[in-house]
């Protein structure tokens, strides 16, 4: 049973955001993330492979990672300097705004300072709200590895946000 168009649409609805975020967490380039994610889905469609829910999602992440690496090599992006992470704020009351703005800047800077692997795991967990075993499945690593990366990322962030 090859992938039907209906199944493809479902797959897209469920995972496009996560895939795109995944590339963004790695690259810090939102346009690149959108282009690559679209590319990855199109390529999956062209493959016309059999559809196995779990394996296909894993394949999407694998393709996204590979695509990113090859783009990265081609363009030699200097991620840490040119494309630091940047987020948009929404639903913030005026009185909170100042405090959050300041925090956001420190946060973005701190994230850019994290090693890529820790940053990706941390953001997938905190931003996308994925559970550890879900992250482990998608990145094809062990849950232990996810836990370790999370712990290291948290330690790093803690030290940067500590109030003296």
């Amino acid at each position: 049973m090859t992938l039907t168009k209906h199944e493809f649409k479902t797959l897209f609805d469920q995972h496009f955001d996560a895939i795109r975020n995944y590339i963004y967490y790695r690259s810090g380039d939102s346009d690149l993330a959108t282009d690559l994610a679209q590319d990855v889905f199109l390529r999956l469609w062209e493959k016309q492979q059999d559809y196995h829910p779990k394996a296909t999602v894993g394949l999407l992440y694998k393709m996204a990672g590979d695509e990113f690496i090859s783009q990265y090599r081609r363009q030699k992006l200097d991620l840490n300097y040119k494309n630091s992470l940047a987020f948009e704020m929404e639903d913030v009351s005026p009185e909170e705004e100042l405090e959050y703005k300041e925090l956001q800047q420190r946060y973005e800077k701190a994230l850019a300072g994290l090693p890529e692997k820790q940053r990706v795991v941390f953001l997938m967990s905190r931003m996308d709200g994925l559970k550890y075993h879900e992250i482990a499945d998608r990145l094809n690593i062990s849950v232990k590895a996810v836990e370790k990366r999370m712990k290291n990322a948290l330690d790093d962030l803690k030290s940067k946000f500590k109030v003296r």
């Binding site: 168009k5 795109r20 959108t34 987020f87 929404e90 913030v92 948290l154 962030l157």
Partner: protein
């Protein structure tokens, strides 16, 4: 202890703050998910199910296959049927080197045909006239003539195949001689000779002197009880002349002769004179250049 508790409280505070921040943060994408889907959907429609054309079904591939098959067949055909023909004119002798080092020494007015590129697969040649073969050891070596065939593995032998005559003499090794019509055959060992009888079948003569049998190789004529007709025919062949009036010796008397002559030291006239003197009642005259007439004196 207090420090530690303080520390973990502070950590939790920070994380709680970050999580509240996370909830309000979004990645600033310039294209929404719906935009991406819309852009992709058009490409999905045009995607016909991938059509696989097997390599062997491509027209060019088939053409190339056909061409290579033709080429190979053509090449093999060329190797198989490409033939070299060597012939000698009257009075000429020639040594033919065959591809494997075997040789065929052709007497005058003989022709040999062989397939040089097929030689390694089968050593077969067509032959008419008289020749002395020296064959290198190897596969079966066959000489086909109109009256008979000779098959050897590696030997030296002489074949005489002119008109209805067919004689094979063996110098070394073993030679098998087959008659073309009928199925009689003879196996020859050194210094044996097989002669095809007029009635069919072979007459094997033992203890011949090979040097006499293939005297032509040493530039000699040697006849032992040969019919005069054969002798005259040999004279024609060796000197490139025409001898007419041979019917006169068809009478009741059997003309046979024996003798040995050195070819280069004897002229046509000398030979004809010797022949005529031998039989007494014969004479000859020169009709024109290279043409002689035998006469019978009543």
């Amino acid at each position: 202890m207090k420090d530690e508790a303080n520390d973990s409280k502070q950590t939790n505070d920070i994380l709680a703050k970050l999580d509240r921040l996370n909830d309000r943060l979004e990645v600033p994408y310039s294209r929404s998910k719906a935009d991406v889907w819309a852009a992709m959907e058009t490409q999905l429609e045009t995607k016909a199910p991938a059509k696989t054309i097997k390599l062997i079904h491509r027209p060019m591939f088939r053409l190339a296959m056909a061409a290579s098959v033709l080429l190979v067949v053509g090449l093999i055909g060329l190797m198989r049927f490409y033939a070299v023909e060597v012939s000698t004119i009257p009075g000429q002798q020639l040594v033919v080197d065959l591809p494997d080092g075997s040789t065929a020494q052709l007497n005058a007015v003989s022709v040999v045909t062989y397939h040089p590129y097929w030689w390694r697969f089968s050593r077969i040649l067509d032959f008419e006239g008289e020749a002395f073969f020296e064959v290198e050891n190897g596969n079966r070596f066959s000489v086909h003539s109109s009256n008979g065939s000779t098959t050897v593995l590696g030997t030296s032998f002489n074949i005489y195949s002119r008109d209805e005559n067919y004689r094979v003499a063996c110098l070394t090794g073993t030679v098998r001689v087959n008659e073309n019509k009928g199925d009689s055959l003879a196996i020859l060992t050194p210094n044996e000779k097989a002669e095809l009888k007029k009635s069919g079948g072979f007459e094997v003569i033992k203890d011949i002197n090979f040097k006499d049998e293939a005297a032509w190789v040493d530039d000699e004529f040697y006849f032992y009880n040969r019919p005069l007709k054969d002798v005259l025919r040999e004279v024609e062949v060796q000197y490139g002349v025409v001898i007419k009036g041979k019917d006169v010796i068809d009478g009741e008397r059997i003309y046979q002769m024996t003798g040995r002559l050195i070819r280069s030291e004897t002229s046509v006239e000398d030979i004809l004179q010797i022949i005529c003197r031998t039989f007494g009642e014969l004479n000859f005259r020169q009709a024109k250049d290279k043409e002689y007439v035998i006469l019978k004196e009543e």
